[in-house]
């Protein structure tokens, strides 16, 4: 089933003419001419589309909240700060189908009463930013964006904002701070951006993939979309598959495909016929799944029930040659570097987790270090200011739980520390 990737194999897919051939910009005039903003929101609500950035919040509900706020101006922000390690799905949409994103943004703007949209794209995607800017110019020249779109009286313009290298800016309130020209540090929630967002005005922040799903929903109806995938998590999902599989890549599949199907039926199985050891199903900040969990469905609810999360759908697959402690160390180094520094548990806690992992990998750890790690993780998880800290410890907790023996292999039988952590640094 190709919904999001329907256009990517066309010649010159990013050009507006290529988009128009395949029902491009048909949903927008339908929304503007035949539907009220409330009807558009209802359609998205019926579709039960859930945010593809990671949290899985119902998109229709988000739009509804923003539309009820009467303060103007309002803003639509497309979160294209795709920074979760292992995620590369939004890049495909940005580079191959930018008009699907723009059409979704314009429809969102009409639905909630916003006239201005921003695309916040990560600094590592310079080509994507250029493609989006070209697409915006093309859409403006055909009156799909700009003043008085298709003579409907509705104005909507889009500006591309390039990030400058900060993972935290994928968090919606940090993204808004960054868009305002500040250091990207999260804001307290509530109030939520739907009421107090960009410049303290009502703001909808949606992921690229969420927005790209909008035009097909308006075109075919919410009920059609709700019939795809699982009841709780409808629609198709772009899974970014990386690691030790034969064919890493982005796969569009109905939500709820199992990990086993994704790896063995779609991604070509394990590389070199090695054995599957583990997978992080939702990027670097998700809890890992082991061999006994290959039949878990990759959707928001099933993965939450399995103690992990779907996140952005970044499935990192590891085979039996992988040292799980080293893999965890790489992940934690990333979070330590990307912690924005605002709150102590995340900033200091990740530093200490990394130090203890250093020491374990240096052969200087003890079994007590594992309890210490879990204790620090608990502190970070329960007291961090935002989702970065909260989720960052998932790989540590889950690998200690499921691959404790690998930590023990580094530790040996030592009960007392040979040298202290200080000396290991």
């Amino acid at each position: 089933m190709k919904i999001l990737t329907r256009n990517i194999n066309r010649p010159n897919p990013a050009h507006i003419d290529s988009y128009l051939v395949n029902e491009g910009y048909v949903a927008l005039p339908r929304a503007l001419n035949d539907m009220t903003p409330e009807e558009v929101i209802d359609e998205v609500r019926f579709s039960r589309l859930r945010g593809r950035g990671g949290a899985g919040f119902p998109a229709g509900m988000k739009w509804d909240f923003a539309s009820r706020d009467t303060r103007k101006p309002k803003y639509i922000i497309c979160n294209a700060d795709e920074g979760e390690p292992g995620t590369f799905k939004d890049r495909v949409l940005i580079e191959k189908d930018p008009h699907a994103i723009l059409e979704g943004m314009a429809i969102a703007g009409y639905a909630v009463g916003a006239e201005k949209g921003f695309i916040y794209i990560r600094g590592e995607y310079p080509e994507g930013a250029r493609i989006l800017e070209r697409a915006i110019a093309q859409a403006e020249s055909r009156s799909f964006l700009g003043k008085n779109i298709l003579n409907s009286g509705f104005d909507f313009s889009v500006t591309v904002h390039r990030g400058a290298g900060a993972y935290i800016c994928g968090e919606e309130t940090a993204l808004i701070e960054s868009l305002e020209g500040k250091r990207g540090q999260s804001r307290i929630r509530p109030p939520f951006p739907v009421n107090v967002g960009y410049r303290n005005h009502p703001t909808v922040v949606n992921n690229v993939e969420t927005l790209a799903s909008v035009a097909p929903i308006i075109l075919r109806g919410g009920a059609w979309y709700a019939g795809i995938g699982t009841v709780e998590c409808p629609g198709t999902k772009l899974y970014s598959v990386s690691g030790h599989v034969v064919r890493p890549g982005v796969y569009e599949l109905p939500m709820g495909v199992t990990l086993r199907e994704l790896i063995f039926e779609h991604a070509g199985g394990m590389r070199d016929n090695r054995a599957f050891k583990a997978a992080f199903p939702g990027g670097a900040s998700s809890s890992c799944l082991d061999e006994s969990e290959l039949d878990v469905r990759l959707d928001f609810n099933a993965l939450a029930a399995a103690g992990s999360m779907l996140g952005s759908g970044a499935v990192m697959v590891l085979d039996d040659t992988t040292d799980m402690v080293k893999a965890t160390h790489v992940l934690i180094k990333f979070f330590e570097h990307e912690s924005c520094g605002k709150c102590t548990p995340c900033r200091e806690g990740l530093f200490w987790i990394r130090r203890i992992l250093d020491s374990i990998l240096d052969g200087k750890g003890t079994e007590a270090d594992l309890d210490l790690l879990l204790d620090i993780c608990d502190g970070i998880q329960s007291t961090s200011f935002c989702g970065l800290g909260e989720a960052s410890v998932n790989p540590v907790v889950s690998t200690i739980k499921k691959f404790r023996h690998e930590y023990m292999a580094h530790i040996g039988n030592r009960v007392t520390r040979r040298t202290d952590v200080e000396a290991a640094s």
């Binding site: 904002h161 020209g181 500040k182 250091r183 690691g243 790489v330």
Partner: protein, 181 residues
């Protein structure tokens, strides 16, 4: 919002220290003028400044602050928060190697060692002849091609040491040609 801050004023404010080389700040003024004067444009302004100089010189950062009506500390805070801003001159080419997990498990580490030994520099360093700066970065968003590096704006994927060597040799040749050597 004064548009007539001179280089001398800026220097004096900075403690009267002479910069080693005189930097032409005219482009900075143009950039700030061309973009709206709202604080929201600070990051795009600094990105454009960096495009001109290859890094953000202190004098330029100060001028941006003064012209946009911001404290210098605010500008410095932003410059040091985002990893893509640089406060010192950088090489003609920027080589970024992904150190993310997906690349790590597919041999990224070997590619990084190869690059470091060929370039003779480590993370965050610039070669003496200004040929290249090298950075280890988090996920480049091309995990399907792991291990991945980016040279300037181009991604190179599914690398091994042999391919890596070829890419660097080609880059050096191109660089010499461009410089007329």
């Amino acid at each position: 919002m004064s548009a007539d801050v001179t280089l001398e004023d800026v220097r004096e404010d900075a403690g009267g220290e002479e910069a080693e080389e005189q930097i032409d700040l005219a482009p900075v003024r143009k950039i700030v003028d061309s973009l709206a004067e709202t604080r929201g444009m600070l990051i795009p302004v600094l990105q454009d400044v960096q495009k001109v100089y290859g890094y953000v010189p202190e004098e330029a950062a100060n001028m941006v602050a003064d012209q946009m009506g911001l404290y210098r500390s605010q500008v410095y805070g932003v410059l040091t928060f985002y990893t893509q801003f640089h406060l010192t001159p950088r090489g003609r080419h920027i080589i970024r190697a992904c150190s993310g997990t997906a690349c790590h498990v597919r041999g990224g580490k070997i590619v990084i060692s190869k690059l470091e030994s060929m370039l003779g520099i480590g993370h965050g360093e610039t070669s003496e002849d200004m040929f290249a700066s090298f950075e280890k970065v988090a996920c480049l968003g091309a995990c399907g091609l792991a291990p991945v590096i980016m040279i300037d704006n181009d991604a190179h994927g599914t690398l091994d040491p042999v391919k890596t060597e070829r890419i660097v040799v080609n880059l050096r040749e191109m660089d010499s040609m461009e410089r007329g050597e």
